[in-house]
């Protein structure tokens, strides 16, 4: 264990060799993804298994999923800075970093996903404000900016950078008005998380995902924000737990995790009630008015059975909510982790069906179900952000004072 000026004082870090090996693995995976990205950019989207029925596929799912999971940043920020749950300051840095990774990944995937990446800025320049995607793009970019601002002070707290007086002050000053940034971020997040829900919800040509709502906002708008607020913190807890396991030390105190888990639990519980109500209304009113029975969406195809609805709502919704809102459930390490994993899976399944199953369901009566499996290029470019995330977290953890409680929990010899 060595300490250089680069590593925050009073914390233990693994050896340079160990760190390098770990990074090498991550970089190798990253390069694989970069190669696939290169293929897609230079040869075009024919490198994917998408087609005219699957204009949206794995990548859009990945986008929706990482943004939902990155929701931990805004919701923890909301709780910390706006509600004033000061305890959560002990995890907010990490939540912000995870959010930062998720959002930058989402932007990268979007840049790969569009057919004309060099014209991608048209979404801003020639914006159609009626499009949910425009709203997403603006909020996503703005919020990514906010996340960067939220992340920067932590970077400046690196011992080496902190020595630069300007950065030292900047870090301090940014901290001092962080609530303003966080509030803006929360405002943006409420909208783009919702807009992502709106993306599928407004498709009145797609009976599987179409939902009524209030004014221009379909119910999915609110459900997406809600579920991101519920499951994002779960993802933060999960990643914190994984980081603790990998670094073999405790980084955040249990009471912090418990508080976050409890709030998540109640969010999840209320969300799942709303989701069930939404599903019932959709299955009994919306879809039949379009000529569809609930089971039309879950039969006559090799993949999408009713199991996926049960998985999403019962197994990955009701079960984790029940665990998290009960003290006993929360306090059992196993049940807690089970619950956060289920919640994370649940939100991913929700995003999957809202994108992929929406497109799989035949709407024209004389068409059949459309099935899709991603090409390796799509898989590689989707794993790319994971590798990137591992690298950023590793670097951040090694060089930045991410966890305020780390020193207290791991007193040095």
């Amino acid at each position: 264990m060595e300490t250089t000026p680069l590593i925050p004082q009073g914390v233990k870090r693994c050896s340079k060799l160990q760190f390098s090996l770990w990074m090498a693995v991550a970089v190798a995976v990253l390069l694989w993804g970069v190669y696939a990205m290169y293929l897609v950019w230079f040869k075009g989207l024919n490198q994917t298994n998408m087609n005219d029925a699957y204009g949206f596929a794995l990548w859009i799912w990945a986008d929706l999923a990482v943004i939902a999971l990155g929701g931990g940043a805004f919701f923890t920020g909301f709780l910390t800075y706006i509600i004033g749950k000061d305890k959560l300051k002990n995890i907010i840095n990490y939540a912000v970093i995870i959010g930062f990774i998720c959002y930058s990944s989402a932007l990268l995937i979007l840049a790969i996903d569009i057919g004309q990446p060099l014209r991608g800025w048209f979404i801003f320049w020639h914006a159609n404000e009626h499009s949910m995607l425009t709203e997403v793009a603006f909020c996503l970019s703005c919020y990514f900016g906010v996340l960067t601002i939220e992340f920067l002070p932590t970077i400046f707290e690196n011992p080496k950078l902190d020595k630069i007086p300007f950065l030292h002050h900047l870090s301090h000053n940014m901290h001092s008005i962080m609530a303003v940034f966080a509030a803006t971020g929360v405002f943006l997040s409420f909208f783009h998380q919702g807009s992502l829900g709106g993306v599928a919800g407004v498709l009145f040509g797609r009976p599987f995902s179409y939902r009524e709502g209030i004014n221009v906002w379909p119910w999915t708008f609110f459900l997406f924000t809600w579920s991101a607020a519920a499951c994002g913190p779960c993802f933060t807890i999960l990643i914190t737990w994984i980081t603790e396991k990998l670094t073999r030390k405790k980084l955040v105190k249990d009471d912090v995790i418990q508080l976050l888990a409890k709030i998540s639990g109640w969010m999840l519980a209320t969300y799942i009630i709303a989701k069930i109500a939404d599903t019932l209304y959709w299955a009994m009113v919306t879809a039949p008015s379009m000529g569809f029975n609930l089971m039309d969406f879950y039969t006559n195809n090799p993949v999408y059975g009713i199991w996926i609805l049960i998985l999403e709502i019962v197994i990955c919704g009701i079960v984790p909510a029940a665990i998290l809102i009960t003290r006993k459930g929360r306090e059992s390490k196993f049940l807690l982790m089970l619950a956060v994993v289920l919640a994370v899976v649940g939100v991913c399944v929700n995003r999957w069906v809202m994108v992929l199953q929406t497109l799989a369901v035949p709407v024209v009566p004389f068409e059949e179900w459309f099935m899709y499996a991603p090409s390796w290029q799509e898989v590689a470019t989707t794993i790319l952000p994971v590798a990137y995330g591992v690298i950023v977290i590793s670097l951040a953890h090694r060089y930045l004072p991410v966890f305020p409680q780390e020193r207290e929990l791991n007193p040095s010899n």
């Binding site: 320049w125 900016g145 007086p165 300007f166 002050h169 000053n173 008005i177 405002f187």
Partner: protein, 53 residues
Amino acid sequence: MFPFNFEWAWDIPHLVFHGALWYVLSIVGLGLTYCIIKSAVDTFREEDKGDNH
């Protein structure tokens, strides 16, 4: 995005959407500018102090 884009219209959806957008951008921009200026001022003051010592 700007009033000089030809698809711009002075209607309610545009005003609501872009109003919100520019509002947010202003807050973030002003906040950031404030931090940078304040930090620069702080830095100079500190240096002045250091000089005085």
